[in-house]
Symmetry: C2
Subunit: 625 residues, 2 copies
């Protein structure tokens, strides 16, 4: 490259003086920057690569200082970040203190709405649009939404609302035919039908020529548009799904053709009604490995030392466990909401294609579908991330737990999740779901216990349940003798019998607590007791109450919000048994934990070995000996 | 009436021997029974009246002993209850110990899925259908869903999934053009377009004649159906929205014509693919007041003594308060999810039509739409029942609170709700939302404080907030001097300064606690202290910690689940200040509270004056004096 356009420009305003060819070369450079940073730091590579021209065209036509651009999910927004003042900080993407992987209003005045979860952009955009109308302002509002997000129920609710509101919003449907894995459902088929239907292609040509001939500005434009509007209305018979909902549909357009995109965006800007612009892009565009395997490159992990071959992720271990159970029990079916790869289910899908359901980004439907399957005699296991289960809390309560239906929720990425940050933390599942009557909540510390829990839940226990596990690597065996059986069903397990100091935890924090025990013994010559709760609902009060009697400091650690955590609940029982207990709850304080490495996050919220030792030290200083 | 058909039959099996004319007369008798009971006990009168022929036709064609019929919401199911073994108990509808107003699996083997919240039936039905396929069974699965429920995001997610699953499910769309108030959105318009489109009417005629000529049984039927299928496919060009999603659409049919309904149900039963049957009914059919004003008769209250004209409901008081604020602040807009009447918003809508939005049964969309409005400079107030906010917990967390957007949620029907029962209790809002960082949660005890809270939230406090209030009557002033200002912002209020016993509460329980104070003073000669928390987040620890120091019994009462309630959280603070406090948390135990009068429910869960007195008595017996 003789010289770099990316070096030459400050931000999107410099796009105005670039020629088409120069912009195309700039797109290539932006891609290289994205590939470089995302393969190093981890990130949503493939989606952002697919949307580079889309972003450049948007920023060539709209002004994000006044126009509001809302990216759905935000996976597509890396080029947008680079071109709106964050080029020089882009190498800090997803790192502690660096820029976020998602749009964030606090990060930039150009980020108009925080996103992370799917399906929010159309609702937010029509909110922005209606506020503009009511406040007599005149800027543009654009939602950029992928084909996977648009089939989420919330998007569909918002689409249903548009005509009635009589406001103008521009929806750019970035259709990469992918969802996170592959297209799901009738809407995806309908989109692919629209993509190839000649009547729409004809429309596109009409639009293009109209656009070219438009004297942009002046009153001629209005007349041309009026005619065009009529043409659009008539050309679009037979109606498509969007037209059925009263929304103008234009497309499909080539999402990598800058000229075409800029033309249609200009037209949409001048048009006086809401319009959905259907744009076809290629996920992973410009990076061969991602183009070939866009699912693998949907989200890439930060570059880290090559892991031990022996180490397995929690996701994979759980999926394999359920697969083993499914071999012998053909009532077992697996469900996921667009997380086949993330939840390690590809092999299950291959082995049991009839018993695997990826419902797309439709968490609400997934849980009630699972309830129906269970009512019909199956044993569904639904794989979902903790953060996304927040989308289906009511279905868990109202459709599964209230009817005592035996659905097992395999809850991935619970607790702190690292680089995805605020929007993706799994800190609410305990506060929210511990209050759901009749639900079992299990939190295994290792693969051995996880296997025992799944197996018992599916084989012996006809109850609704959650098995909660963190992101990352799963210890195969932790504080457990080889071949020793797991502790009894619904019982806590005392991993270490000591005195005075009682450490309580569950799941991912147990290894930190084991380390803490050793340090406390070394430094203070106190041998603490360590108990793994294993089950968060129901709580094993029999075991705990005995321990509360003869310990004077309790440190309860968990990767959950402190408010509503299990620690809050346990204190009530402890206090009845032993009024003199000093109670320390080590959990996430009442704030949103930013993105960065998980280690940084744990230190930030104070869930770490050093803090445990510090609390023991404080106790020893003040406690009567 | 010479003799009663309803008296003559035991259940739906007796329908088989009735002639068409006799069934029609039976429908009239069922309507009379529904009107009699629902106007006495309260209930969802208008919807159930509209669906009598629909239910009779379903039960004439399908056998609910093996076929699975899933009613969405369940408002339409009264005739179904009467005809499936619950005729003699129907007079106990919605009463404590009586039959539920909604389908309940525990109540009857004919109720195949518990409902109450909208939009669940299609998901549940396809779950049942897929389970049937996997278990090689052969029964029919039918979802009966209203035009309001089908536009809920969850229904749309499920519709999107049907084609892909290659299973057969029959969806009966009961279109009464009503939603709870009136039709919302593009889909409603589309349905009305389909209702009048001649090509569909032609289809209907084709179906009817085909149906009549079908020799039901034998192999001829298959050939006829094959032909018919082709006819259907071709007749339905241009495609409609359902066809766009790959679902066969038949209709519209007259939902009060038994003969037509039975014909089409028989055909759907024999058809080998999923089909959506569009049926037009009249809400309130057969009861003149309800036909004329179906919104008013959507849900009717139990017959009770005529209330004092001075008494106002919480819903009405809140709506009027926001209306007053909106007069002076044109940034204020009101949103509701199909609860205009229920939340008392009709007058607001009339006065400020441009600033009122009923989004239909789309709680998720509503909250993020409100977030967009707030981001765009408005001050949205969203009116929603506590139980339905469970549907949009993630939107509250992810789209409103995380971005610190000034959306106020006016949370109606929080706490126990009486006759609607399990599915509609508002017991989760505290456990779920107290853990959302940055949210303010207010719980006023009377209208005066409610007005102060709304006014401050909208005028002075740019924060996301919930104002939580119960179902029923609002005291205008409670433990408050006329013209005395409200307690300071975010502060708890000590209503009575006493000693030894500290009663803590908020919202609806305060009047019960005042009564308890008087009883305790009378019986034990102890003057308790009474504090109204007013704000559940943030908690006023300054005031509380002072009180914890010199009281030895705390009774904290709240209409919330105990697990996750504020009482659980407060104990941690109390214990740090005073280890000798005896702590009694009077809240809802870990179970689902059944339907019945609210008084019965309060006694059942032990939130009442007698329990407070009992706890004081127990304390006095054991405490050192």
């Amino acid at each position: 490259m003789s010289h770099s356009y990316l070096d030459m420009i400050n931000d999107y305003r410099d796009l105005y003086r670039l020629k088409l060819e120069e912009k195309n070369r700039l797109c290539g450079e932006i891609r290289q920057m994205i590939i470089g940073v995302a393969t190093e730091n981890g990130g949503h590579l493939a989606s952002s690569l697919g949307a580079v021209e889309l972003v450049v065209a948007l920023l060539s036509v709209f002004d994000p200082m006044k126009d509001k651009i809302v990216f759905d999910v935000g996976h597509q927004a890396y080029a947008y970040k680079i071109l709106t003042g964050r080029k020089d900080r882009f190498h800090t993407l997803r790192q502690w203190g660096g820029i976020s992987g998602f749009p964030k209003r606090e990060e930039s005045p150009y980020d108009h709405f925080d996103t992370g979860h799917a399906g929010t952009s159309i609702s937010a955009a029509i909110g922005y649009a209606k506020a503009r109308d009511l406040l007599h302002q005149s800027h543009n509002v654009i939602a950029v939404v992928g084909d996977a997000s648009i089939s989420n129920g919330m998007s569909l609710e918002a689409l249903n609302q548009i005509e009635e509101l009589k406001t103008k919003v521009i929806i750019v449907l970035n259709d990469n035919k992918m969802s996170i894995n592959f297209p799901i459902g009738g809407l995806a088929k309908h989109l692919s039908h629209l993509s190839t239907n000649p009547s729409y292609r004809k429309m596109k040509d009409a639009l293009r020529s109209a656009c070219k001939n438009l004297p942009l500005g002046g009153s001629l434009i209005e007349e041309s548009l009026k005619k065009l509007k009529y043409q659009i209305k008539t050309a679009l018979q037979p109606i498509n799904m969007f037209e059925a909902l009263g929304i103008n549909y234009w497309g499909p357009f080539n999402g990598h053709n800058l000229e075409e995109l800029e033309e249609v965006f200009k037209l949409a800007k001048a048009f006086d009604e809401s319009v959905l612009i259907h744009v076809i892009t290629k996920k992973g565009k410009g990076y061969a490995p991602a183009e070939e395997n866009p699912t693998k490159y949907h989200g890439v992990s930060p570059r880290r030392p090559r892991p031990d071959a022996e180490i397995v992720s929690w996701s994979k271990a759980c999926a394999e466990c359920v697969e083993k159970i499914a071999e012998k029990d053909n009532r077992v079916v697996c469900l996921t909401a667009a997380m086949e790869e993330g939840c390690g289910l590809s092999r299950f899908k291959k082995r049991f294609p009839d018993r695997f359901f990826d419902v797309g980004i439709a968490e609400e439907h997934m849980l009630t579908y699972a309830a129906g399957l269970a009512a019909g005699g199956m044993r569904p296991v639904t794989f979902i991330y903790s953060t996304f289960l927040q989308r289906a809390g009511d279905q868990l309560y109202h459709d599964i737990a209230m009817q005592k239906l035996p659905v097992v929720i395999s809850l991935d990425r619970s607790g702190l999740v690292g680089e995805d940050g605020e929007t993706h933390q799994g800190l609410l599942d305990i506060p929210w779901f511990k209050s759901v009557p009749g639900l079992i909540i299990a939190s295994p510390r290792d693969v051995a216990d996880m296997e025992f829990m799944f197996s018992n839940l599916i084989k012996n226990c006809d109850m609704p349940a959650i098995v909660r596990y963190p992101k990352g690597d799963a210890p195969k065996r932790l504080a457990r003798d080889v071949d020793a059986p797991c502790a009894p069903w619904l019982k806590a397990e005392v991993l270490r019998h000591g005195r005075e100091v009682l450490l309580i935890g569950h799941g991912g924090v147990i290894s930190m607590l084991i380390e803490s025990c050793n340090k406390i013994a070394d430094i203070y010559n106190i041998d603490p007791t360590l108990v793994d709760l294993r089950f968060l609902k129901p709580l094993d009060l029999e075991t705990l109450n005995k321990l509360f009697v003869d310990h004077s400091l309790v440190i309860m650690a968990e990767e959950s919000y402190a408010i509503g955590g299990i620690g809050e609940q346990l204190l009530g029982f402890a206090q009845r048994v032993n009024k003199h207990i000093r109670w320390e709850h080590m959990a996430v304080p009442d704030l949103y934990v930013p993105h960065g490495a998980k280690d940084e996050q744990l230190r930030y919220v104070g869930i770490c070995c050093d803090e445990v030792v510090k609390k023991v030290s404080e106790y020893l200083e003040t406690a009567p000996r």
